[in-house]
């Protein structure tokens, strides 16, 4: 370094610098006009589509005051996208007025609001556009799409049958989930078997996890469901078909869950092990009382995600002929040449999985909040 003192270039003795955040803003005319054009175009499309729905309903034998009421209601709702646009227009006028009286602060505030409102109008208009497109798809080809997937009379008629078959899915995944929890933990603990004596166990566990994570679930179901009865092994060959698929799913998902447990156990800092061992607790006692209880808390969200995946995988059991909801709905689809019963199955799966995913998300949020708060 030289002898001279280095200073920032602006730190001289000249006049003090002022913050420069721009001049008088311009009114966002182009943005407002774009939003206006979009709103008009989408609203026209909406009105046309609502008219088509009404015609379809009347043509389909649905008549009465409620059709007209729904028509009026839908029309009103479709015009809601104009509301932010009106606000945007008012703010836009405020900008012009503020510019006229040279009030730079008011102009900035109004411009910012006009800008935001315009974008809000565009956002909602775009969403409505997507809805219009979807409805148009359903109405296409003389409502063939709607009738193929959402034929209400068939849905109502076959609902009891599909729901009854859905209980098979529920039975399979509930039993499999319980088994997976236990089996996954056993495999995970085997992966941590200590010392040289534990090495064969560690290898077996690792091979099992690798193999069963690699094989597609549908293959395992097929191999177990058809293969085991063929072998004629005593006791095993007399299980029900449902038991085979439960075993198959447990084997497959158990491999994933074992990995999840392992990650949970490894996520616990080694100092916890040191503390437990230093008190004289054995390897197994340390795992049981200190490490696993903490690890399990960390892995509840990923575990629930795996359960949701397992629930959906129960639809694969039709390959061995279990009459679950999907299989039942395919039979109905073949008989009626219509897929509405399959839609019922989809809706049932949606109904059970969305609450669970929301629950997992909330739990993860809570965990993150707790982490931020410095808790454990």
């Amino acid at each position: 370094m030289g002898a001279t003192t280095h200073r920032a270039p602006s730190a001289g003795t000249g006049p003090a610098r002022r913050l420069d955040i721009g001049r008088m803003p311009a009114a966002p005319t182009a943005l407002l006009l774009s939003a206006l054009v979009m709103v008009i175009a989408v609203e026209a499309g909406s009105l046309y589509t609502i008219g088509a729905i009404r015609k379809a309903l009347l043509g389909g034998g649905f008549a009465g005051w409620w059709v007209s009421a729904a028509f009026v209601l839908l029309t009103l709702m479709s015009t809601m996208i104009a509301l932010p646009l009106i606000r945007a227009f008012n703010r836009w006028r405020d900008v012009r007025r503020a510019i006229a009286r040279n009030d730079i602060v008011a102009a900035r505030v109004a411009r910012s609001e006009a800008h935001d409102r315009s974008w809000i109008a565009i956002g909602y208009t775009f969403a409505q556009f997507i809805v219009v497109l979807a409805v148009q798809f359903l109405l296409a080809n003389n409502q063939a799409v709607a009738k193929t997937f959402f034929y209400v009379p068939l849905i109502v008629e076959t609902f009891p049958l599909v729901l009854k078959a859905f209980w098979v899915n529920i039975e399979i995944f509930v039993v499999a989930e319980v088994l997976v929890l236990v089996w996954g933990l056993i495999v995970a603990l085997a992966m941590f078997a200590p010392g040289t004596a534990g090495k064969p166990l560690r290898i077996i566990a690792a091979v099992y996890v690798d193999v069963f994570r690699a094989i597609p679930a549908i293959l395992v179901i097929f191999l177990v469901g058809f293969g085991v009865p063929l072998t004629g092994v005593p006791i095993l060959k007399d299980f029900s078909l449902t038991s085979y698929v439960i075993i198959a799913l447990t084997l497959t998902v158990g491999a994933y869950v074992a990995e999840t447990y392992r990650a949970g156990i490894q996520s616990i800092h080694w100092s916890q092990t040191a503390a437990a061992r230093s008190l004289g607790l054995s390897h197994m006692q340390t795992l049981r009382y200190v490490i696993v209880p903490q690890g399990v808390r960390h892995i509840i969200p990923p575990l629930l995600n795996q359960f949701i995946a397992l629930q959906k995988d129960t639809a694969l059991v039709n390959v061995v002929g279990v009459i679950d909801s999907f299989n039942q709905s395919m039979l109905i689809a073949a008989n009626h040449y219509n897929l509405s019963a399959v839609t019922t199955v989809a809706v049932l799966f949606i109904a059970i999985s969305i609450p669970q995913t929301r629950f997992v998300e909330r739990m993860m949020q809570r965990d993150r909040a707790r982490l931020r708060a410095g808790g454990v």
Partner: protein, 247 residues
């Protein structure tokens, strides 16, 4: 015969030598402080005494029994040798009472009632009785470290190893932890502590060992080590500490 007899031990991680023919002895009811620069092996030495780390050569004897090498029941060893860590290492999923009673119940096979009675007696003695039902994350650092000491004491150990137990604490919390150690020293608990608290080491210890280059570079009574260190590196170390106003 000394209570803890560390004889000529060596240990290395790959090329990095941690102990190089280190020998040290601790008598019963004696408090020995280990001081020395970071990385001089103070913590590792404590961890070797309770079997958390293995040594490569030499041996460690407690009461004449060899506790290193093959054939040693480390679980039994650790029952009688308590250790307290710099980072407290309490079990976050258990209450204070759960932390203190876990090992007495599972390892010493005490009944739950007996373990809790013992735990409450210790907690009361150290002013923590009202925290028994709290979880560790609701406690201050000083309280957590006191609980960790109680957890080690609940096993009724023959010797207590203290591994820089005040290094993670805010300065105003240090004294509440050191008061406990002072109490235990007066009571005659055999202790071996790794520490950076020179003033405390001087006050409480019967012997101070300066560790350097993997062995005990200089040892002696605290007044001798702190006031007239005989060897050059001890003097340099203490000079640095004094320059930093930490003594």
């Amino acid at each position: 015969m000394a209570f803890i007899e560390i004889r000529d031990i060596s240990k290395s991680y790959g090329d990095l030598s941690v102990f190089n023919h280190l020998s040290l002895s601790v008598d019963e009811h004696e408090v020995v402080s280990l001081i020395g620069p970071s990385g001089s092996g103070k913590s590792t030495l404590l961890r070797c005494i309770n079997g958390l780390e293995a040594i490569d050569h030499g041996e460690i004897r407690v009461h004449g029994d060899r506790i290193t090498g093959p054939g040693v029941d480390v679980n039994a060893l650790r029952r009688d040798i308590g250790i307290v860590f710099q980072g407290y290492n309490l079990f976050p999923h258990m209450t204070v009472l759960g932390n203190v009673t876990l090992a007495p119940i599972k390892v010493l096979r005490l009944s739950k009632a007996a373990a809790e009675e013992r735990a409450m007696a210790l907690l009361s003695r150290f002013g923590l009785a009202n925290k028994a039902r709290e979880y560790p994350d609701r406690l201050s650092g000083g309280q957590q470290q006191r609980v960790a000491i109680v957890r080690a004491l609940a096993m009724d150990p023959l010797v207590l190893l203290l591994d820089e137990i005040t290094s993670a604490l805010d300065p105003e919390l240090v004294s509440e932890v050191l008061n406990i150690v002072r109490d235990l020293a007066e009571e005659g608990m055999t202790m071996l502590l790794a520490t950076h608290e020179m003033g405390f080491a001087r006050e409480v210890s019967s012997k101070v060992c300066f560790l350097c280059d993997g062995s005990v570079y200089e040892e002696g009574p605290p007044d001798k080590i702190f006031d007239e260190p005989a060897r050059e590196r001890t003097r340099a170390f203490l000079r640095n500490i004094r320059d930093a106003k930490r003594i």
